[in-house]
């Protein structure tokens, strides 16, 4: 092969280049290394299952876990709930005074110096807007007749505040007094519960966006409108409608609005940036001094749906705190990680078996026989123990073990009769009969499928004929209470604090009373319960109701849903918490070493 002239030239050029490069080497780029994150307080990454979608987590649409958590970190209120499910008052934010028990009158005063991040003080107008949105005071809608208007689309339970008259505003411009028409058991939770109608929305911004002059104009507007009545619906009030609509939907956004007024904070943190469906970054609110002071400078919330993805992100150091859906395998995977701490606990939701008070189970003996066959210990051993080795069957229909009254209630409620499977006892009660029982459950929930399988296995031994009435996730709930089954396995969520949930499930004919439970004693106790404001008395009544339920062969609670949290060992201050606030409840204690 001969080289052409060009080839030689190329060769020479190449040799020259090599010689040059030998001198130069790889000099490395001039890319400046950026620093910016690690200030003295440090930053923590928290995994959340869903994407952030609203700056007002109190609305029906915006009421998701992640919105609630971010709302909790960026707002303050009169109270918060601790990991023992106690209501803690934040005296630095303001004070709550019960002025009278009958009529129940409560005064809320915000401390001086508490302000929104634009400098506007938190005022009576903010308190009034909070009340207006959480009281359904102006609503005159009738859902059956399709008349009237629902103004504020709140996620909160309005039954408590709806008992109040239009509040009296203090002359200091930062207090408000509520007067209840009858005693309300959960009055402490009815107003200013963070993430559920807390003082989360700045009234001066809502007023301005709704076309009013200022916050005072909003107060005047609200003062001028009478209580709504669904029996005589009034024409829509356009100004109130504008205010309510802005409150309901105006704060929905997946991105950070260009107008900083849309995400004002009155809490420890301010939202700094939002990447839709990916992350939300919170930074310290410099003015904040009206509550527990956070240690971290920054919290980065990252959206990670699947549990294995959360565990792997923790392992890879992309997040520091995770709260994945609990399963034995997730727990085992977390256990294998080094440098990670795990918290095992319970959620407030629990699965239970309910028997219909009709059909083959109308006879109390059959009900009791069936309950005797339910292998509650076996179910917990096989479904929950792999996750939480200390798990025990739940023994109360009304309390969870995290509550102080649980132990006491369990002693006397009659649950001891159903501790172990008693096939012989069941056979005796059945007296040779072989009733056919159709069990309905959600087929897409593996825990319930497995619980069904175990119950079927055991009940068949006593002579029951078990029919699989399981339905897919889209179907099962619409069949609740329609009589197409005899027994059902599903879950309730215990509110942890407050008692209004009890009559909702157990009162005769109540909305969520699907199995037809009716007990005169229990009904009477619940009527008293709902107007009792004393905690000790509430507990006594609940214990009595619990015993009534067990005595009637209502069904049995099976287990509390386990809860798994894990965090990097560089983070301290994270504790277990059963309610929806989860790890966030004491985010101010988090710190990075």
């Amino acid at each position: 092969m001969r080289f052409g002239r060009t080839s030689k030239a190329v060769g020479a050029a190449a040799i020259l280049a090599l010689a040059l490069s030998a001198c130069a080497g790889n000099t490395g780029g001039n890319t400046p290394s950026t620093t910016g994150a690690a200030k003295q307080g440090g930053s923590v990454g928290v995994a959340e299952t869903n994407g952030f979608s609203s700056f007002n987590s109190g609305t029906a649409d915006g009421n998701s876990d992640v919105n609630g958590h971010i709302g909790y970190a960026t707002h303050s209120g009169f109270i918060y709930i601790d990991d023992k499910l106690n209501i803690v008052r934040n005296e630095k934010f303001g004070k709550i005074e019960k002025l009278s028990d009958n009529p129940l009158t409560v005064k809320y005063t915000v401390n001086e110096g508490v302000k929104w991040s634009d400098g506007t003080p938190v005022s009576a107008a903010d308190l009034l807007l909070t009340w207006a949105s959480g009281s359904a005071y102006y609503d005159d809608a009738d859902s059956k007749a399709k008349t009237g208007t629902t103004y504020f689309k709140t996620a909160a339970d309005t039954s408590g505040l709806n008992l109040t008259d239009f509040p009296e505003l203090g002359s200091d411009g930062r207090s408000l007094t509520l007067k209840y028409s009858k005693p309300f058991a959960d009055w402490e939770l009815a107003y200013s519960f963070p993430g559920n109608g807390g003082v989360d929305v700045p009234a001066h911004i809502v007023a301005q966006k709704a076309g009013l002059k200022d916050a005072q104009a909003l107060i005047d507007l609200l003062k001028g409108i009478k209580r709504g009545d669904s029996k005589s619906p009034q024409p829509v009030n356009p100004q109130l409608k504008a205010v309510a609509d802005f409150w309901s939907t105006g704060f929905e956004s997946k991105t950070l609005p260009s107008d900083p007024n849309m995400y004002l904070s009155n809490g420890p943190y301010i939202i700094k940036s939002v990447v839709p469906e990916q992350s939300v970054t919170l930074v310290r609110n410099k003015d904040y001094n009206w509550g527990p002071t956070p240690k971290l400078d920054e919290i980065v919330v990252r959206t990670i749906g699947a549990a294995p993805a959360q565990v792997q992100a923790l392992k890879n150091g992309e997040v520091d705190i995770i709260n994945p859906q609990a399963s034995a395998d997730t727990v085992d995977q977390i256990k294998q990680l080094s440098g990670v701490k795990m918290l095992l606990g319970n959620q407030l939701s629990y699965d239970h078996l309910d028997l219909n008070f009709s059909g083959p189970l109308a006879d109390k003996n059959v009900r009791e026989a069936f309950l005797k066959t339910v292998p509650r210990k076996d179910i917990v051993d096989k479904i929950i123990k792999k996750i939480d080795p200390n798990a025990k069957p739940l023994d109360s229909e009304l309390f969870v073990p995290a509550q102080a009254a649980y132990a006491d209630s369990v002693k006397n409620n009659g649950s001891s009769a159903y501790q172990d499977v008693d096939i012989d006892g069941a056979k005796k009660l059945l007296n040779g009969a072989t009733p056919e029982i159709r069990i309905m459950y959600n087929k897409d929930n593996p825990n319930r499928v497995d619980a069904y399988s175990l119950i079927r296995e055991s009940a068949t031994k006593a002579g029951f004929k078990i029919v699989d009435g399981g339905l897919g996730k889209a179907d099962w709930s619409s069949h609740l209470g329609d009589g197409s089954y005899d027994a059902t396995i599903f879950g309730w969520i215990n509110s942890g604090v407050g008692v209004s949930g009890t009559p909702q499930i157990f009162k005769t004919g109540a909305g969520s009373n699907y199995n037809g439970f009716s007990d005169a004693d229990a009904d009477k106790a619940m009527d008293t319960l709902i107007v009792t404001t004393d905690k000790a008395k509430q507990d006594d009544l609940q214990k009595q109701i619990d015993a009534d339920i067990w005595k009637s062969g209502y069904g049995v609670p099976l287990f509390q849903s386990p809860d798994v949290k894990a965090f990097s060992d560089q983070i301290s201050g994270v504790t277990s918490m059963p309610n929806q606030t989860g790890v966030w409840w004491n985010f101010w204690d988090w710190s990075r070493s």
């Binding site: 294995p308 995977q333 087929k443």
Partner: protein, 365 residues
């Protein structure tokens, strides 16, 4: 410079002669019917034969072990019964010394036998696959054939229908099917049947929507075939449309059809897996391979047998069906050379001979 040298020309001629020799050499098939040729070609395809054998073994294992159609099988457990956990659910089988043990594939967390569940799952997956393949093949052949043969308004109507169905997302249809299969309150025979045979309904419905691709292919095939001389000959000699379609065109298009049906079938297994993963497929406590893998995906690091065994069966079924399809394609395509180990080596030689001029340095340049 790139003028072919004499040597290259010679080489090329030689190669052509070789190719011709191989062509005629392989045409010992003259005098055999199409079916016989196809069979012969197919059984010469090692990959396809292995695939067929593996699939046959899985099929027999799945349908005899846990029983089907109400006939009990030879395995002692079934997919719903709970038995006490042996050795915390780990598989009891071992390769050396070889032993099955009580639960060869292990148990899930509440003690169901995984071997029984996997076999039941394989049954379900194979059922879905065969149903989709059969229904999609039949509808695809009819619609594509009619459209391609008659043209005109028949074609326009049928092809627009195909267009509508092809853009409806499959996941959506599957979700609706899942709904119907889960409704049991309305008491009609369909819902009653669906409640007990969810997987059959799933297979039938997915079959009803998976035919569109096939229909397009068959139509294309018919469009070319109907212009061929033998079709004209048949038409002139007075054959009816039905006779032309079934006797003359269909046998020539059957290759395309069968090959693509097998490919649809292997995709069907994966479709079922994906649907179950998303919670839209077979529902517990009944089971399918896809559901087993999806349910146990988190267990892959901690209790890997729950994941591996059903996963292995998915891969085996999928691979064997794909290789069968591959063998069928080679067997049906008359243009492709007959495959036999010997001739494969010859082809290799032949092709290396023709590529030789590239690698050798030509002397003349």
């Amino acid at each position: 410079m790139s003028q072919p040298t004499q040597e290259e020309e010679l080489l090329a001629q030689q190669a052509l002669a070789e190719a011709a020799a191989i062509q005629t050499g392989s045409e010992v098939t003259s005098g055999l019917s199409q079916g016989q040729i196809v069979r012969k070609r197919f059984f010469g395809h090692t990959g396809a034969l292995i695939g067929l054998a593996v699939f046959a073994v899985i099929f027999l294992l799945a349908f005899t072990s846990v029983g089907a159609f109400g006939i009990p099988g030879w395995w002692k457990y079934n997919h719903v019964d709970v038995s006490p956990l042996v050795n915390d659910g780990t598989p009891t089988s071992s390769l050396w010394p070889f032993a099955w043990g009580e639960h060869p594939f292990g148990q899930d967390r509440i003690g169901r036998d995984l071997f029984a569940m996997t076999m039941r799952g394989a049954q379900q997956s194979i059922t879905v696959m065969l149903l989709i393949g059969g229904i999609a093949g039949a509808i695809g052949a009819i619609v594509g054939g009619l459209a391609g043969y008659f043209r005109g308004w028949v074609e326009a109507t049928l092809m627009r229908l195909t267009d509508v169905i092809i853009i409806i997302p499959l996941l959506l249809l599957a979700a609706v099917v899942g709904q119907i299969a889960n409704r049991r309150d309305e008491g009609s025979w369909l819902t009653g049947f669906a409640a007990n045979n969810g997987v059959v309904i799933l297979g039938i419905f997915l079959g009803f929507v998976s035919w569109v691709g096939l229909a397009r292919l068959v139509r294309g095939e018919f469009l070319t075939l109907r212009e061929r001389e033998f079709v004209d000959a048949a038409r002139i000699s007075g054959a009816s449309n039905a006779r032309i379609i079934f006797k003359h065109i269909l046998p020539n298009a059957v290759g395309v059809l069968i090959v693509n049906v097998t490919l649809t079938m292997s995709a069907a297994i994966l479709l079922e897996t994906a649907l179950s993963y998303l919670g839209l497929g077979v529902k517990a406590p009944d089971t399918s391979l896809g559901l087993l893998v999806a349910q146990n995906q988190e267990a892959f690091a901690t209790r890997p047998w729950l994941f591996w065994f059903p996963g292995l069966f998915i891969i085996l079924i999928c691979l064997s069906i794909n290789f069968i399809g591959d063998g069928l394609r080679d067997a049906f395509d008359p243009r492709q050379k007959k495959f036999r180990a010997k001739s494969a080596i010859e082809t290799a030689k032949h092709s290396s001979a023709t590529t030789a001029p590239v690698t050798r340095t030509p002397k003349g340049s």
